[in-house]
Structures are given as structure tokens and as C-alpha cells.
Amino acid sequence: MIIEAAQFLTILATGLFFLCFVFSIFFNVNDVNIIKLISRIYSHSFFLFLSSFLIYVWLAINDNFSVLYIAQHSNTNLPVFYKISSIWSAHEGSMFLWIIFLSLWGAIYNFSVHNNEPLKARTVGVISITTVGFLLFLLLTSNPFETILPLPPENGADINPVLQDPLLAIHPPTLYLGYVGFVIAFGQAIAFLIEGNSSINWEKQVRFWSIIAWSFLTLGITLGSWWAYYELGWGGYWFWDPVENVALMPWLAATAFIHSLSASSKSSILRIWTILLSILVFSLSLFGAFIVRSGIIDSVHSFANDPERGLYLLAFIGILVMTSLILFSYRFTILISNKRIVSLSKESFISINNIFFGTLIFSTMLGVMYPLIYEFIYDQKISVGAPFYNAIFVPITLLACLFLLFSIESKWQSKLKFAFLNNPLIISFVFSLFITFLSFKFYSVSRAWTLASLFIGSLIISRYILVIYAYIFQRKFVNIYSVLAHLGLGLLIISIALNNDFSSERAMNIKINETETYKNHEITFNNLQLTEGPNYESVKADFIIENKNGNKFSLNPEKRKYFVRGQITTETAIHASLLKDIYLTIGDQLDDGSWIVNVQFNYFIRWIWFSATLMIISGLFLARSLNRVQS
């Protein structure tokens, strides 16, 4: 009964969201009473929908296995935390969460933006219709409320053990918050186009929301990358898997978007770009949902293959994008700015980098779709591996960084003048050259791309440090959060390059009480024991690692066997330090009693997380500062 009630609430909410949309289109949205009405209907339908979700969470916590989805993905033995996170461990439930977040963003927007803001009613309308599209998808093709009646199973089928991890419980929610957060920017852009009044500065209103969404997206991707690093046992943090790529594309577009936003919120010169990018970001987010949920591409992350779902999503995205683009071309004339982009101005560098971002997005899209196209034409299975992406991303990113450096020097709407003496750029140029030379000479960094990345990374870092110096000691006005985020970029480039250059691994064959040496470290296999967790049994190895300075520590990699599904997983053991992680995984036992053990030295991996964290935190602070300016 309660299940039907929850489902009914969702259906009711769908109807009300649709009503919001209809009102926003057909009624006079300049009438304050109408705006109030739309705003109220939205809030009410959000609360109906939210209650429906909360009931669902309650059902999951209480092991209500008459719900098919819960029976398939949860289990009485699971801790409550995982009973909740099991909701988003597969397609139906995660779609449910996705829509909750979509409407949540709408609700926060609706709640916090004043009713007399010019675009509010229409923005809420656009968010509503997007929500309706997804809600219909949920109810028609992927209903989480489906029941097994009259005889529910005694126990559920459990969630996949590799997903039983605290980080993976929070990775999807943050990622989704990022993906769907761009609905506000999208909604405002469409509302702006419908309104057709070029004097409204929608960019200024939308910056806050977009930067928050960007921060969540970055956080979601970083968490996923971190999880993959310690859980999968491969020691890498990025695999160019199709599903990672479909998260990267909206991220790239979003990054280009927030940069264009900052340009066009000052003058409307880059408005065309900005509108297009807002549509692109949201479409790419939806495209990601399509790729993951249609099963069209083989990947670790994809859900089961279902053409019906894929077709629905494709049609939905198609309609959304087509409508937006038609509207865009219809209003094209009001978007054209009568000012021209001054060459060598900040706008010009942002435009150039937009082209680079576009190239990266295009290449990633090509890499994702090419296997499908190729198979269709030549009937031959292929896959596009990391080398392709590296060949594109490394040079283009470095090139884009050079333009970033020029843009630090430049000003809005005026030509960059080089003052060669006492120019901070010269100082950081010399400094970076010095650093690169030192690494080449004394730290045996010899690969050309590593050196190039090191040089450009140091350029960015040192240049921004000079900016920070000027900010603190010479009271120069700068957007300090943006500076810190770009500092993160510089660090990220260096850490990725060094990680790639220095990291190494070796598989070894070792018996209990034996010692092996790898790169000045003595690795002793101390002991092996059988232990039991709440829902698994495990073989836990104890290794003592001693480095050349005599420092000792122990590492305990595990192999677990989960009771319910009988699945075996490998738990890595990691010893983290400032420069490197020592990363241990155990494999199989051989007939002579020895074990295969894989040792990896992963350099600068913590720096990668740190760089990303710096970007995320700077993003959040930047959003906060914007919000203060607004109100």
C-alpha cells in the first residue's frame, strides 16, 4: 500500500511540474501573481516528490523486499548506510536520485531567487519540463516502484561488493549534483532566449549556480577517480573508459562555460558563446546519462543493455537540444553584440581557449563514438585506448595553458601591452626554465612531454604566486579564488606529468617469511590470516616494508569473498607519503605455496588529489563571494 502511495506521489508531482511549465509558457509571466502561483506549484510538487523519495529510502532501510528493485539490490545483512546507498547502485534507483537532485536544484533556485527577477518564472518552467521528461522516463521505462507480490523473497540479492565502499556511496550523488546543477544555467539561458530582451544580464545571475555545479562535478569526478585508484587495484586514477569520458565532456564544456560567463557578465561580447555553451553543457550531461543507461557502449560502469531506455533518452535529448537550437537561431540577432572582440584582450584569450576546449570535447566524443561508427561501417570491433586521448589532450592542454598565461597579463576589452622590463612573466619564465633544467639534470626527467609539462606547470604556478604576492602585499585587486583554482591547474599538470614519468610497478613471487627488494625497499611477507567481516570472509596478508633509512611500516592487502554473491574482490593496501604511495595488491597463491604480489610506487598521486581539491574549494568560495555581491 505504502509503495503504491509513494508511486502515486511521484505521478502527482509529475503532473504538477507539467502544470508549472504550461503556466510559464501560456500565462503572462510579468504578472507577479502568476509568478507567485508558478513558484508555489513548483514548491509543492517538489515536496510531494521528495516525500515519495523519502518513503522509498525508508522502505530500503526496512528491507521491504516486496519492492523488486530493493530485493534485487539490497540485503538484510548490509549496514544501514549501504542499504541507503544501494538505492543508487543500479539504474532505476540512481535515476530516481538523479531526478530528485534535478528538482532539488530547481527548488533551491525557486526558493532563493526573488519573485521579481525577470527570468524566474520561465526558468522554473524550463526546469519543470526537463524534470517531467525524466520523470516520464522513470515511470514508463524504469519504474523503481515495481513490486513482487504476493510473495516477496526472504532476502535481497545484495549490492555488488566493489560498490560497498563509503566513497562509492557518495560519489554518484556528488556527480549527479554536478551534472544536473547546470539545469539552472540551461533554464536561464532558455528563459532569456524566450524573453528576447537583450538588456537582461542573465550571465550575472547564473554565475553563482554554475560555479557551484562545476565544483560538484569536479568533486564527483575526483571522488570517482580516487575510488578507482584504491579499489580496483590497477593503481591508476584515470582509464579513459567511455563512462569517464562522458563525465569529462560536460566538465570540459562547463569549464569553458564558466570562463565565458565571467567574460560575458561584464560585457555581452561573448554572449553567443555563452548561450551555446550553456546548452552544450547540459546536453552533454544528458548525453552521459544516455550512454551509461542505454548500454550502447561497453564499459565497467554501464548498466544493462536496454534499447527502449536508450531510445527514449535519445529522443528526449534530441527534442531538448533541437528546441534550444531553434530558439537560439530565432533569437540570434539579439545576441549579437555591437562591440568587437579587441585582439589580445582577455576576451580574445578566453575565446581562443574556448576553441581548445571545443577541440578536446570533440576529440573525446570521437573517441567514445568511433568504435560504434567503425563497427557499423566495417563490421569490425575496435576500441580507442589511452594513447589516442594522450596524443590529443597533452599538447592541447599545454597550448591552452600558454594562452592562460597571456590572459593573466591582459585586461578586459583592451589590447595587451608587453612591458619587457620588470615583467612578472619574465621572472616566472626564468624560474620555470631553471626548475625544468634542474629536473632534467639532477632528477633524470628526460621525456620531452614531461619536461614540457613541468615547464608550463611551473610557469602557471610561479606566475600566479606573483599575483598572490601582489594581492597580499601591494593590495592589487584580483579574484583570489580564481587565482587559487588556476594554481590548482598548474599543480595538476605537474603532478600528472611526474606521476606518469616516475611511477613503476613489479609483480613478485613471494612466500611467507621471505623478503624481496624493490627500489631500495625491503618487502617482507610476514604473515597471512583468515578473518571475517560483517558480510564477507577474507585472506589478509601482512607485509613489512622497510626503506633504506630503516623506517618500517606494515601493509595489509586483502582478498575478500562476499557471502551472498560469492564474488571475490581485491583490497589494496596503500602507504601514502608526500611524494609517493606504496601500493600493494595480492593475487593468487601458486602450487608451491607462494603468492603473487604486485608492488607499485605511485608518485605524486596525492598531489593530484590536492590539486583537484584546491580547484573544488576555490570554486565553492568563488561562488560564495559571488552570492555576497549579488545580495
Binding site: 580496483l232 587495484g233 590497477w234 561497453d298 564499459s299 565497467v300 554501464s302 577541440t359 570533440f362 576529440s363 570521437l366 573517441g367 568511433y370 567503425y374 569490425q380 570491433k381 575496435i382 576500441s383 580507442v384 585506448g385 594513447p387 589516442f388 596524443a391 590529443i392 609483480a507 613478485m508 613471487n509 582478498k559 564474488q567 571475490i568 574482490t569 581485491t570 595488491t585 595480492i586 593475487g587 593468487d588 601458486l590 602450487d591 603473487i596 604486485n598
Partner: protein, 134 residues
């Protein structure tokens, strides 16, 4: 030509030329980095250069796994053809005889020298799909 027209023509040509050049490099990078997928019965039908990375998929043949220290060798079969694979390192948890596997590596002397071994969960696994669990 009038100066304005000339300038516009130049702009158009510049944009066309640079997009063509960009696309050329992207496509070239793509073409030289494709991993072709073969089944064991297809693999000897054509010449595959030693430096070309390929993927093969099939079943790990029963009783074919030989371990020697950290090295492992096994035969991948699709019941019509088979090929020997050598790998140094830890094979995934789901790797076992009689179940599906995907190998990424180079062909040398009728043997695949593997860079990566991925195992497939499903018992009814048949080559082309590559749902990976490592």
C-alpha cells in the same frame, strides 16, 4: 576584389584551413591508436604487425593455465581457433579456466604478449562484448 571582400574571404579560408588541419591531426591520432578486436579464430587470417596493439577475446581453455613465478600463460579459445597468451602480473579475481577473458597485447611468434588481462563475469560470455572486471 574590394578590400572588405578580400578580408572576408581570407577569414573564411583561414577558418576552413585551420579546422581541416585540426581534424586531420585528430583523425590521424585516432587511426594510429585503434585497438582492433579479434577472436582466436580470426587472428591468423590476416597479417598483424608486431608493434600493433590488439585485443582478443574468448574463453580460457580448461587445463591450459601454466604458472611460473609471476608469469602466467594460457590458451584463449573460441572453440574454432585458439591462441597462446603470456602475461606477467596479477590476473583479475574473476579470471578462471573455462570463463571469458579479454586480452590486450601484442602478437609475437603466434603468442600474445599481454599488457592487460581482463576477465568477464558472465559464464555465457561470448567474445565481442567487453564488459570488464579486473
Amino acid at each position: 576584389m574590394k578590400p572588405v571582400r578580400k578580408k572576408r574571404l581570407q577569414t573564411v579560408l583561414l577558418i576552413l584551413a585551420s579546422s581541416a588541419l585540426g581534424s586531420f591531426f585528430i583523425i590521424r591520432a585516432l587511426d594510429s591508436n585503434l585497438d582492433f578486436f579479434y577472436t582466436p579464430s580470426e587472428i591468423f587470417l590476416e597479417e598483424i604487425p608486431e608493434n600493433k596493439r590488439i585485443k582478443i577475446g574468448g574463453m580460457v581453455l580448461e587445463n591450459s593455465v601454466i604458472r611460473e613465478k609471476t608469469k602466467i600463460s594460457f590458451i584463449v579459445s573460441d572453440y574454432q581457433g585458439s591462441i597462446n597468451v603470456e602475461f606477467d602480473g596479477i590476473v583479475p579475481d574473476l579470471f578462471k579456466e573455462g570463463s571469458g577473458v579479454v586480452v590486450l597485447g601484442y602478437l609475437k611468434d603466434k603468442t600474445i604478449i599481454a599488457e592487460e588481462v581482463l576477465a568477464k563475469h558472465d559464464e555465457n560470455y561470448m567474445p565481442p562484448s567487453i564488459d570488464i572486471e579486473k
